[in-house]
Amino acid sequence: MSSNAITIPGVQIDEKPWVDTLHEWVTTVDHKRLGVLYILYALLFLVIAGVEALIIRIQLMFPHNHFVSPGVFNRLFTMHGTTMVFFMGMPILFGFANYLVPLMIGARDMAFPRLNAFSFWLSALGGFLLYFSLVGANGLYGAGNAPDVGWWAYAPLTARAFSPGHSTDYWTLALLVSGFGSIGTAINIIATILCMRCPGMKLNRMPLLAWLNLVMAGMVLLAVSPLTAAQFMLLIDRYLGGHFFDTQAGGSAMLWMHFFWIFGHPEVYILIIPCFAFMSEIIPVFSRKPIFGYPVMVAATVCIGFVSMSVWAHHMFSVGMNSYANSFFTITTMAVGVPTGIKIFNWLGTMWGGRIQFKVPMLFCIGFLFQFLIAGLTGVMLGSAAFASQLTLSYFVVAHFHYTLVGGVVFGVFAAIYYWYPKITGRMLNETLGKLHFWLFLIGFHLTFDLMHIPGLLGMPRRIYTYEPGRGWDTLNLLISVGGFIQAIAVVIFVANLVISYFKGKTAGNDPWDAWTLEWSTSSPPPAYNFASIPVVASRRPLWDLKHPEDPDSQYE
């Protein structure tokens, strides 16, 4: 297979000087290259923020531990949260959207390739600004002064009285700049999906991945805009004498909370919906069946998109809203559980009666299903305002959202990487290393995050750099930390697999998984123009129709 691989211009890079190659990557407007840049950039930040998490876990292994100082600990959890959400989660999902959406809808690029490059470099600048705070926040003599206000940066802690120096400014600017990048990418994804589909690809024939990314991009527009506005208001407060959030001058701390969470909760769905998209593409292929209930999956996603815009104040069940507001946000939050449940049932329906192949991508999908089920149920508990008055701000919440973001998003991203790596690089990832990675990560994940619920139930608040012995938290925290290191070992194996397989992996061929969507009809990696001739589709699974002309999907749709 390798000997007759198609020769394409990009393959010749070895013979060019490295400066030319670098120049090509920096100036590229190709959606695939930008997708890869997004993914590599996000993986870098995954490692950085992962190391921050490990230091946090070393500090919390024992009560009254002195591994890091309180100030350093607060900076670590602020940087860990901000990095993981804004510079790992969003970029890696945008990267996959960039790479896959045009290929899956039969287009040659995104609708606005230059805007695409601009958005990526803005996001990259955001991440750089955040970490530049390490040297720039207090001038060079104050090296090591990263933001320490928490990733949601509640007012008035961000006021100049409580956050002198520039660390909070770097945090604000990082989010402001990357927010513009996110909005640019969202506009691009929407325009691409609505305007660039190949002939025959009606909206109800789009792969679910395209549908879900359409909903995600719409949510980015609605959710990131208020966050960006709030960052401007914070800058006005800090430098132009504004009083939006300055409580000492009659400003409102509550206003910031509303602004932040009307971004912050949809953000969670912005992160998880693309992972739902991975599930909806990968589970059918490895179950050898079409997705169960395609129209219902689309409807449920759109429904999640709308309802999730009205749930933000469930992050504020302890701030003293009246009983009617608390009841309202209880019912809307629980209501999101219904379409989310429908999705889990539909994936189950897809597996039901299939012939499940336990390839590494599918293993991560199965892990995702189990974990997302639990994350959803603890979400229902947190949605109950009365129960949440005990659970919120405790380690139970930390366990819950890591269950969604690690058990959900990270497992989803791993599944996607194992599934599409052959398409992106032309080589298969090593299956044995992949399984080792999966099992180690699964064990580490459960050791850490299953147990992490309990200290919360036993009264341990989040964001504390140390804790009192004798409250039943000690052994649990030690085990949680051990689990964190097991996950870190698994990630090292994963990165090794990425590198080794890039050079030594089995050649993938166009369609290693015997899949059904358009990206598998072109070469691996695809040429710059994606398709020699624009495909024409007649159903949701064009490659199924091609492989099974006697029984095409187009007969049933």
Partner: protein
């Protein structure tokens, strides 16, 4: 394939085992009276209402978990690909309206039930009327300590809240008004009530009616700055007689003891009195805790250390040794001044 089936089953068992281990730990902790911060060991009406609702929500979600988990494990094992099927595709099924309706309507009904149960608990906790015998306390969050004021009793204290036990037949609940002097904080005594934040410019209310006497622990739950972790809370629930005696003691001005006049002079001629108050003297600063009856408290530095002469001495000389980042400055006193101030503090009963 047999091996794969085994590994899937094993991982499922592993997860179940962890889950049971978790539940067992909570159950064990719930029966451990020394723990003191368990949300499933409630000792007052609002905490009990929340705990009862919690058990109900846990039961419903537990049933959903068992059902869906079983279905997932079953389908993963039952529908695994077998070597004999190689090359053959299973029946292509696209969906089923009846099934979709079923798994839409049933969750909606569950959500309605959970919502009604929650709304009932929210109303009962948040909208409870304040009875005539209620004790009023104003709690003010500071970086990184708690100020407690009893406006009806004329008492000001810090970090250790005293409230009376409440007899259900003749309730004397405590109603707190929650304020903040600087950043956001959150008042959380897990066994007495859910948490409520202290937010500047946004007064909040909460209440608790402890049903037994004893010491209840908690701490600030809303990140408030560098020493958020050592903003501990200690609530002493007293019998009505003990509470009355405690309040009478707190209403007295500070003990005047001529033998520690040197220490008092050091206190009043240094920056101490800018931040701390001692009733009956010229010291009336309000940035730090009121010290009038310091020796009636079991801890100093908002629970960061026990109230011993050695700790007091260390705290005054180098607060960062106990609580790095605390707003108390290091006083840099000479040894003799330090001894004198500590002796003075020890008379403040």
């Amino acid at each position: 394939m047999q091996r794969k089936q085994n590994s899937i089953t094993l991982s499922a068992l592993f997860m179940l085992a962890l889950l049971f281990l978790s539940l067992a730990t909570v159950a064990a902790a719930a029966t451990d009276p020394t723990n003191g911060t368990n949300i499933f060991a409630p000792a007052s009406t609002p905490a009990k209402m929340v705990a009862h609702l919690s058990v109900f929500v846990l039961a419903i979600t537990g049933i959903i978990f068992v059902v869906v988990f079983t279905l997932l494990v079953y389908s993963v094992i039952k529908f695994r690909g077998r070597a004999v099927d190689a090359g053959r595709e299973p029946a292509q099924v696209y969906g089923s309206t009846q099934i979709e309706l079923a798994w839409t309507i049933i969750p909606i009904l569950i959500v309605i039930v959970l919502f009604l149960a929650t709304a009932r608990a929210i109303h009962a906790v948040q909208d409870a009327p304040e009875p005539a015998g209620a004790v009023e306390v104003t709690a003010i969050g500071h970086q990184y300590w708690w100020e407690f004021r009893y406006p009806k009793l004329g008492v000001v204290t810090a970090n250790e809240l005293h409230i009376p036990v409440s007899d259900p037949a003749n309730p004397t609940p405590t109603f707190l008004t929650l304020l903040s002097a600087d950043t956001d904080h959150s008042f959380w005594i897990p066994e007495l009530a859910g948490k409520t934040d202290l937010i500047p410019n946004h007064p909040n209310r909460m209440w608790m009616d402890p049903l037994r006497t004893g010491i209840f622990l908690g701490q600030c739950a809303q990140y408030c700055g560098v020493q958020h972790a050592k903003m501990l809370l200690r609530v002493s629930v007293d019998s009505p007689a003990d509470f009355a005696a405690w309040a009478r003691g707190q209403q007295q001005p500070a003990v005047q003891d001529a033998s520690v006049a040197t220490g008092r002079r050091v206190f009043e001629s240094n920056a101490c009195m800018n931040c701390h108050a001692v009733a009956g003297t010229n010291a009336n600063g309000r940035f730090g805790p009121d010290l009038t009856h310091l020796m009636t408290r079991a801890t100093i530095a908002s629970g960061a250390a026990t109230n011993t002469p050695e700790n007091l001495r260390l705290w005054i000389q180098d607060p960062n040794a106990i609580k790095p980042g605390s707003l108390m400055p290091a006083m840099k006193l000479s040894d003799s001044d330090l001894d004198a101030v500590v002796s003075y503090m020890e008379t403040l009963r």
